[in-house]
């Protein structure tokens, strides 16, 4: 370990973040230099907070400089802690208060139409993510973080899980591949993460390792909240093993497909039509349905092309997917609207479900609409549509009363 460490970000375009330089010295006490865009409003509180943290970690002699572009206090704390831990081995953690609002758990079968990727080392994108109402937010420790920033991102993501309100979105983290990913769990499992995305999942053994570690941590912290897993299939081997992966354990709620890596693995490239990934996508849908979980599609990467996105979602829905990733908040509305049942679909479903309930009430085994018999799978699909419409506020919960009157 050296004597100088830097963490965070600075420079043009950097907002809501800070850059910390920590140099351990032998004598002289703490020399703290605060440069802040919000010095007038928060200069004093930044100084007090930083001194407290340095003291907490037993740093007695150091030159510390913060170049702050309006970072929230939990961001400053994450940056400083990361810098200290680069230089001093310690088991201690400086945690922001866990917000009461952040203590919710999520249901296994909740809607997962949209999940918004947030780079794990970019605080500015996290703070307002929840206001766009995605079904889930993903604090990404993997591909969206530069290799040399992966350590410090863990502290930021941990602090975000404690102190940022995502307004009811399912709180997800994408961990790294391999051993690093297993270590990532230590930084997030104790802080009420709802779901872990496991990238490049190819074999059930990977899931075993993740589950073992989760169990270990939860035992240590005496926690029992569910932690769901969404493995991401991103390779030819992963596609082949889709069913064993999807059905591996009770806490696997969905499997997602990642097409950039998958097409690279195939030695081809991703096209708008997606013919090259048709097989893989169908395999994932099939495996997920066989395991009774949700199949989730890849992201659509042109954030400016809302029409393209809409077409993509329609294709996705037609293939049987239940949701997809997004990389920009504006994609959320389009994804929700397009995955939602159309008014036409809802009307048809209402007729069928109404007839189904009538038939049940009359003790009839067969559902009929007029003179036409309705097959059980059609009834099941209609029930799903109605449930979805209810969940998405596209249908009043008392719809049957209204329906009766017509």
């Amino acid at each position: 370990m050296g004597t100088i460490a830097t963490t965070g970000n600075k420079g043009k375009g950097v907002r809501s973040d800070c850059f910390v330089t920590l140099e351990l010295t032998d004598v002289g006490g703490i020399q703290l230099q605060v440069e802040s865009k919000v010095a007038v409003m928060y200069g004093d509180s930044i100084r007090t907070e930083m001194l407290k943290i340095l003291d907490f970690f037993g740093v007695e002699n150091a030159r510390v400089k913060i170049e702050d572009s309006g970072a929230l206090s939990l961001v400053i704390a994450a940056r400083l802690e990361a810098a200290i831990k680069k230089l001093i081995p310690t088991e201690k953690n400086w945690l922001p208060a866990m917000l009461n609002e952040n203590l919710y758990t999520t249901a296994k079968d909740r809607n997962r139409f949209s999940r918004l990727y947030l780079p794990g080392n970019s605080p500015s994108l996290m703070i307002n993510a929840g206001i766009h109402k995605p079904d889930g937010i993903i604090l990404d420790l993997e591909d969206a973080v530069a290799p040399d920033k992966k350590d410090e991102a863990r502290f930021l993501v941990r602090n975000a899980l404690c102190g940022i309100d995502f307004y009811g979105a399912e709180r997800m983290v994408r961990i790294n591949q391999g051993e690093r990913g297993i270590e990532d769990l230590n930084y997030i499992i104790p802080y009420n993460v709802n779901l872990i995305l496991l990238p490049k999942c190819e074999k059930p053994e990977q899931l075993q390792a993740v589950n073992d570690q989760i169990k270990k941590i939860q035992q240590k912290y005496n926690q029992t909240n569910p932690v769901w897993i969404m493995p991401i299939i991103e390779s030819a081997l992963g596609v082949i093993n889709a069913y064993p992966i999807a059905s591996f354990s009770e806490n696997i709620v969905s499997i997602a497909i990642g097409l950039e890596d998958y097409t690279a693995d195939l030695g081809t490239r991703r096209t708008a039509e997606g013919l090259e990934s048709f097989f893989a996508r169908s395999c994932v849908v099939n495996a997920a349905r066989a395991a009774g979980i949700q199949p989730i599609d890849s992201v659509f990467s042109d954030v400016g092309d809302m029409e393209g996105l809409r077409e993509n979602v329609l294709r996705s829905k037609a293939l049987g997917f239940d949701g997809m990733g997004c990389i920009h908040p504006r994609q959320i509305v389009v994804i929700h609207e397009t995955f939602a049942p159309t008014p036409d679909e809802i009307e048809k479903a209402k007729k069928i479900v109404y007839a189904f309930h009538k038939a049940q009430e009359q003790g009839l085994g067969v559902v009929a609409l007029g003179t036409k018999m309705i097959d059980p799978p059609v009834v099941k699909r209609a029930l799903n549509t109605i449930n979805l419409a209810l969940k998405m506020n596209k249908l009043n919960e008392n719809w049957r009363e209204f329906y009766e009157k017509i």
Partner: protein, 520 residues
């Protein structure tokens, strides 16, 4: 001459000077409370006998024209800001004054821009005593740090006209940069390499100044039509090689915002207007130039198109988006105060439904009414708002003066004033217990739209009633404030000295608030 003296508490509880730069000033008394008596100022009587019968008022250089116009110590020189950050004329005037060793001038611009930063050296060396108008960016910083000799006075566009008309400010020399002019001094802003659209901000200057100099780089034979400025007001015409940098005049950089947070503000603002019944066939709105305001226009368009409605008029700042609405038939008229891009200039030049306005027609409070109070929906910005809905547009939460008032105060008289603003910028909460500087009294501000909720002014019981069952997140302003402080922490207040460095005037010329020197 004392910079400021005799501070008293005004009707909104702010301590303001009653003597400003040696002259008496009236403290703010409330909205519509101050009723001045007497007569408007009047320019000197002139005679055609003193002007060339052939109409040729061209003088070889700006320096010569300024000297002929009586450039001397202690006078007031005015300019307009239609060239925005592409203005090449204003600084030249003071270069000349400096070269001649002239001191203690008052610069009276309708607004200042970053390109006017060189003025700081003339403020330092005493060429310029003070600025009355707007002090943006570097000039604001300079003022805030107490370096300006005289006291700065901030006025709205309407207040600037009112001050000249009422004789509060006497312009000795008006220098009007004009994209096209003839030798008689008729001028417009719609043609020429420095085309900027209207020239309305220079109207008071033309009408009331002792001497008026037109400066152009596009001299055409008489008649220059349209004549937005009549040559009958003009003393001299100067032709320069270049008066403005076109790409900085009509920057075209004002685009629909791509920020998802701002788009959300725009979407909610438009939804609010719709649910509150503010949008109807024949309604009117004020379109701001900011990215958020532009996006609201897009949402308005969707609503109008769907219902086959039209807006009777839109108040500009115009730009291509508003022009599209006009040309698509979603808006019947644009009443334009300034034009932000070339599409706006083209439309004003070619479309009789797109007309130029001046602070007289749109904003002047000491007149027989003006149309700002007829606008149904007004969308504005602010740097801060307080729990009493008072808003600030000139200083930031760190105490520094950084912006002018523009037409902001004047448009507050619209029927529903909506401020879509982020709840906090980086870590700076926008809703405060008390704004650093009051620019608009809360009674005129109706709705604050933030990404975490919408607050309606308790005075607007009608709006509260209409939004009772809204799907939008309606909250109280106190709730919004605590939400921001929970995320950001409670901010400390900026530290000021007792020294007043500038004042904010209300639309009627009374003193609304003082801006104090920051402690550096």
């Amino acid at each position: 001459m004392k910079k400021f003296d005799k501070l008293i508490s005004n009707a909104i509880g702010r301590l303001v000077p009653t003597v400003i730069n040696g002259k008496p000033a009236v403290p703010y008394m409330g909205v519509g409370k101050y009723k001045p008596e007497g007569f408007r100022a009047a320019p000197k009587i002139t005679s055609c006998a003193d002007y060339p019968a052939d109409g040729n008022k061209v003088i070889p250089s700006l320096k010569e024209a300024l000297l002929k116009a009586g450039l001397r110590d202690g006078i007031t020189i005015s300019t307009h800001h239609h060239f925005r950050n592409g203005d090449l004329v204003a600084t030249q005037i003071f270069d000349i004054a400096h070269e001649l060793g002239i001191k203690d001038l008052m610069w009276y611009p309708s607004a200042s821009f970053p390109c006017h930063e060189p003025m700081t050296k003339y403020l330092e060396d005493g060429t310029i005593n003070r600025i009355e108008g707007s002090m943006n960016g570097a000039l604001g910083r300079f003022t805030s740090e107490g370096k300006m000799k005289g006291l700065g006075v901030l006025r709205s566009h309407g207040g600037r006209y009112q001050a000249v008309q009422d004789g509060e400010v006497h312009i000795d020399i008006a220098v009007i940069a004009a994209p096209t002019a003839d030798q008689f001094g008729d001028a417009n802003g719609v043609n020429g390499p420095a085309a900027c659209g209207p020239l309305g901000f220079a109207l008071a200057d033309a009408q009331y100044a002792d001497k008026v100099i037109i400066v152009t780089d596009n001299l055409v034979p008489f008649p220059c039509l349209p004549w937005q400025i009549n040559g009958n007001y003009v003393d001299f015409v100067v032709v320069l090689d270049k008066i403005g940098i076109a790409e900085k005049i009509v920057s075209g950089t004002t685009e629909i915002t791509k920020s998802p947070d701002r788009l959300l503000l725009a979407e909610w603002s438009a939804k609010f207007c719709d649910e509150a019944g503010l949008i109807y066939d024949g309604f009117s709105f004020q379109a701001g130039a900011g990215g958020t305001a532009l996006s609201i226009g897009i949402y308005f368009s969707e609503i109008l198109r769907d219902r086959k409605w039209k807006a009777r008029f839109a108040r500009g700042g115009s730009n291509k988006y508003l022009v599209q609405m006009l040309e698509e038939g979603l808006v019947e008229y644009i009443l334009d105060g300034q034009t932000f891009d070339l599409e706006g200039v083209r439309s004003m030049r070619d479309n009789p439904h797109h007309t130029d306005t001046s602070p007289f027609t749109s904003y002047n409070y000491h007149s027989k009414g003006n149309f700002s109070s007829m606008v149904d929906i007004v969308i504005l910005g602010a740097t801060e708002v307080d729990v009493n809905f008072n808003a600030n547009v000139v200083t930031h939460s760190d105490g520094y003066l950084l912006h002018g008032i523009g037409g902001w105060q004047n448009t507050l008289f619209g029927k529903c004033v909506i401020l879509p603003i982020p709840l906090f910028r980086d870590r700076m909460p926008v809703i405060r217990d008390e704004v650093t500087t009051i620019c608009g009294p809360g009674e005129l501000i109706d709705v604050i739209v933030t990404e975490r909720g919408i607050a309606i002014n308790p005075l607007r019981t009608d709006l509260i009633e209409k939004m009772k069952n809204s799907s939008l997140p309606i909250k109280t302003i106190h709730e919004l404030k605590s939400e921001a402080e929970k995320i950001c922490g409670v901010p400390a207040k900026p530290k000021f000295t007792e020294e007043v460095v500038a004042v904010v005037k209300w639309v009627d010329g009374t003193v609304l608030d003082s801006i104090r020197r920051v402690v550096v």
